[in-house]
């Protein structure tokens, strides 16, 4: 069975996924983009790690700001 993630229109590269991960921190993504990103993260460990790195960055800047 052909998985949905393997279809060219839906499958995105890590480069595209990373751009969406960044954009997601600034805006809400359209449904299509959200879906493509979710599917990509299901099979991609690299982008899953990047997603957590981005989360750590945001949190770090918050903590940095709170410090005296």
């Amino acid at each position: 069975m052909r998985s949905l993630a393997r279809q060219p229109m839906i499958r995105i590269s890590c480069q595209q996924a990373s751009l969406l991960l960044s954009q997601q921190q600034d805006e809400s993504l359209t449904l299509g983009k959200r879906l493509r990103l979710r599917l990509h993260l299901m099979y991609c460990d690299a982008c899953t790690n990047v997603s957590r790195q981005f989360a750590a960055l945001r949190l770090a800047m918050m903590r940095w700001r709170e410090r005296d």
Partner: protein
């Protein structure tokens, strides 16, 4: 009369208590010690002059930060006007391209961050992040700080700095990608770098 003098002295002292905090932020944003000093002095003077308009609904620090942000946006507009980039917004493009192979996959596996919350409690990590932000190409860093330290919405960054939405997205994307590679070299999943 005497009471009034004491009150205003206290008032300025209260404002000045936030000076170091404002300096820290201004320095990260402007990357110039003298400019940051002048900027923070202006902010404190301005705040003192309009102290009657502080209603106390928000904290004093929040109020001062809002004044600082406006002052910084004025300065950035001036800086950016005076030193236009030859190719606007293309800083850092090559560095990002090199992270991927020809098919758009990561050339190196990004490190796993097991517990972002725990990591962000470490002073060493926060110091590493600050160093990495300081090393970003100047404008990319400035857009990133406006977004992450001041919490400015992207649409407001566009308006304030005359940038297009896609330009701001790209700058923030590059900032985050360069920061993550900078932190790969000591920060993510490592003991305190030095």
């Amino acid at each position: 009369m005497a009471t009034e003098v004491i009150d205003s002295t206290l008032d300025f002292r209260m404002l000045a208590e936030h000076r170091l905090y404002l300096m820290k932020v201004a320095r990260l944003q402007l990357r110039d010690e003298h400019l940051a000093e002048d900027c923070v002095s202006d902010v404190l003077t301005q705040a003192y002059e309009k102290r009657a308009s502080f209603r106390g609904g928000s904290s004093l620090r929040t109020w001062l930060t809002a004044i600082l942000k406006n002052r910084i946006i004025d300065l950035l507009r001036k800086q950016w006007r005076e030193q236009p980039l030859e190719v606007p917004g293309d800083e850092g493009e090559g560095a990002i391209e090199r992270m991927f192979d020809a098919s758009g996959h990561y050339a190196h596996m990004p490190s796993e961050v097991r517990d972002p919350a725990e990591l962000c409690q470490q002073d060493g990590f926060l110091a590493a992040v600050q160093r990495c932000v300081d090393m970003l190409p100047k404008r990319i860093g400035q857009v990133f700080v406006l977004r992450e330290v001041f919490g400015t919405e992207t649409k407001d960054i566009c308006k304030d700095l005359d940038l297009t939405t896609s330009n701001v997205w790209v700058q923030l994307y590059r900032a985050r990608m360069m920061l993550r590679t900078c932190l790969e070299r000591g920060g993510f999943g490592h003991a305190q770098p030095r």
